[in-house]
Symmetry: C2
Subunit: 273 residues, 2 copies
């Protein structure tokens, strides 16, 4: 029988927080002195979120599913003051000019190792990654996106005018598809998963938020994504696993320029109820 969690009877104080916190309501105890445990049938609906082991003040709960933790938080260092986080987030800029220098695979892995903790619907964790690390391959794929736009523009696509501009700019040597970035990161997932798109946008937002900490910059590659979801030739070149669809793409690399200021944005438009 599958036991996704176990509870250490010596360590457990019977505080009941694991019962309170379980989003599926599958942890229970018979009486106040009994050990909490899974309700019958609970294993089948456990979402493997790990809240039970993460929250236990006594460290008495252990998760037993694959890739389980827990990691202990380094004392105090998980807190960032609001002013520091606000300055960090406001300083983030979309980067469309990159240095030619490549980013080590190890750095990209470290970045993705943060992003894998992004939330996902029902803890489905559906996002896989294609990292196009070879700059020449990024250019080749951008060229395939341009080839699709050239055709779509001729065929009267509703965005024909914009595609025409992108194609002419490309022909003049300027890459507005991947912005000349050395790397391209594509989040992909099962095309039939109704939560895959939302979860991918959340994950890519985490990637963009974490990137400046590593000295990196990003740009949402919307034009690339449009082509990737419509062009059979580009889809073939991406070679995603059977049944997977590209959810969104993001350019990645070292920014060519520093931004010493934060530009204005619309004031908050909020209705209170």
């Amino acid at each position: 029988m599958d036991h996704p969690i176990t509870v250490d009877s010596d360590a457990c104080t019977r505080c009941g927080i694991c019962i309170e916190i379980c989003p599926m309501g599958i942890i229970a105890q018979d009486g106040p002195d009994d050990l909490p445990g899974l309700v019958p049938g609970g294993a089948a609906v456990c979402s493997r979120c790990g809240h039970c082991e993460a929250v236990c003040p006594a460290g008495a709960v252990s998760a037993r599913y694959p890739a389980c933790g827990p990691q202990h938080l380094p004392g105090g260092s998980a807190a960032i003051a609001p002013a520091d986080l606000a300055a960090y987030l406001r300083a983030r800029r979309t980067v469309r000019r990159y240095r030619e220098e490549c980013v080590d695979r190890e750095t990209v892995e470290a970045l993705l190792d943060v992003v894998r903790f992004a939330p996902s619907g029902m803890n489905g964790q559906p996002v896989h990654w294609l990292v196009v690390h070879d700059p020449a391959e990024v250019r080749r794929l951008a060229g395939l996106a341009i080839a699709w736009m050239r055709e779509a523009s001729r065929a009267g696509h509703p965005m024909a005018d914009l595609f025409g501009v992108l194609v002419r700019t490309w022909d003049a040597g300027v890459d507005q598809i991947c912005r000349g970035a050395p790397h391209l990161v594509i989040a992909h997932a099962d095309a039939k998963n109704p939560m895959a798109y939302t979860d991918s946008i959340i994950a890519l937002t985490w990637l963009e938020v974490a990137a400046p900490s590593f000295g990196l910059g990003t740009c949402w590659a919307g034009f690339f994504q449009m082509a990737a979801s419509a062009s059979p030739a580009l889809a073939e070149a991406l070679g995603l696993p059977e049944g997977h669809a590209p959810q969104y793409a993001m350019a990645l690399g070292y920014p060519a320029y520093r931004f010493p200021r934060v530009p204005g944005r619309e004031p908050v438009r909020v209705t209170w109820r």
Copy 2:
């Protein structure tokens, strides 16, 4: 004539970075000693991203559109070390148990004042906010979501079984719609804007990322969002501006419990090219 930017001829060093950085390619200079400025017709296509004023090393570029900046970055404080940011992000947990204490409007405003710097497609900044601050109103709206699920379940909705569970749980006094949170935050935008959903998910991800810094917790209210986008009664109760649609909702409040550990998540699944 509309001049979205001006350049101070004394301060400008003619370095050309504003020309390089402009995503629309609408800044140019005639010769290397001439002052950069907008190309004819440039004002009409300026996306008001403010990159030109944010990047200028000499502070010579000023944006003149509404709500413009710039804010100078406080020296050095915009940087956060990768290990600190990673610990902060990994420590974030979806919160489904809240203290009864309300969050001051000022704190919510401060949080949204960070989120307004989240990126958006073509710098469209389409996201508006409805903050349901009154806990009784949150319960009333959650009740309307449940009323819709009760009907949809009877009418044979594909998710009838799940809705049945949510309805029975609600009838037993447990709120799985807004998770008993004191507040509900709804991102809304023009229903015809094709980028509104993606931009709203990015903005809500920023809200969720910034919340723990303010001591707050969040939960993506997917069941509420389903009802809000389908129930005429709930739509009327929300009273969004004409033409706007609820893009996604998020529960907000002070977490009832601390999570001293980080649970496991799937290892990174990456293909390198």
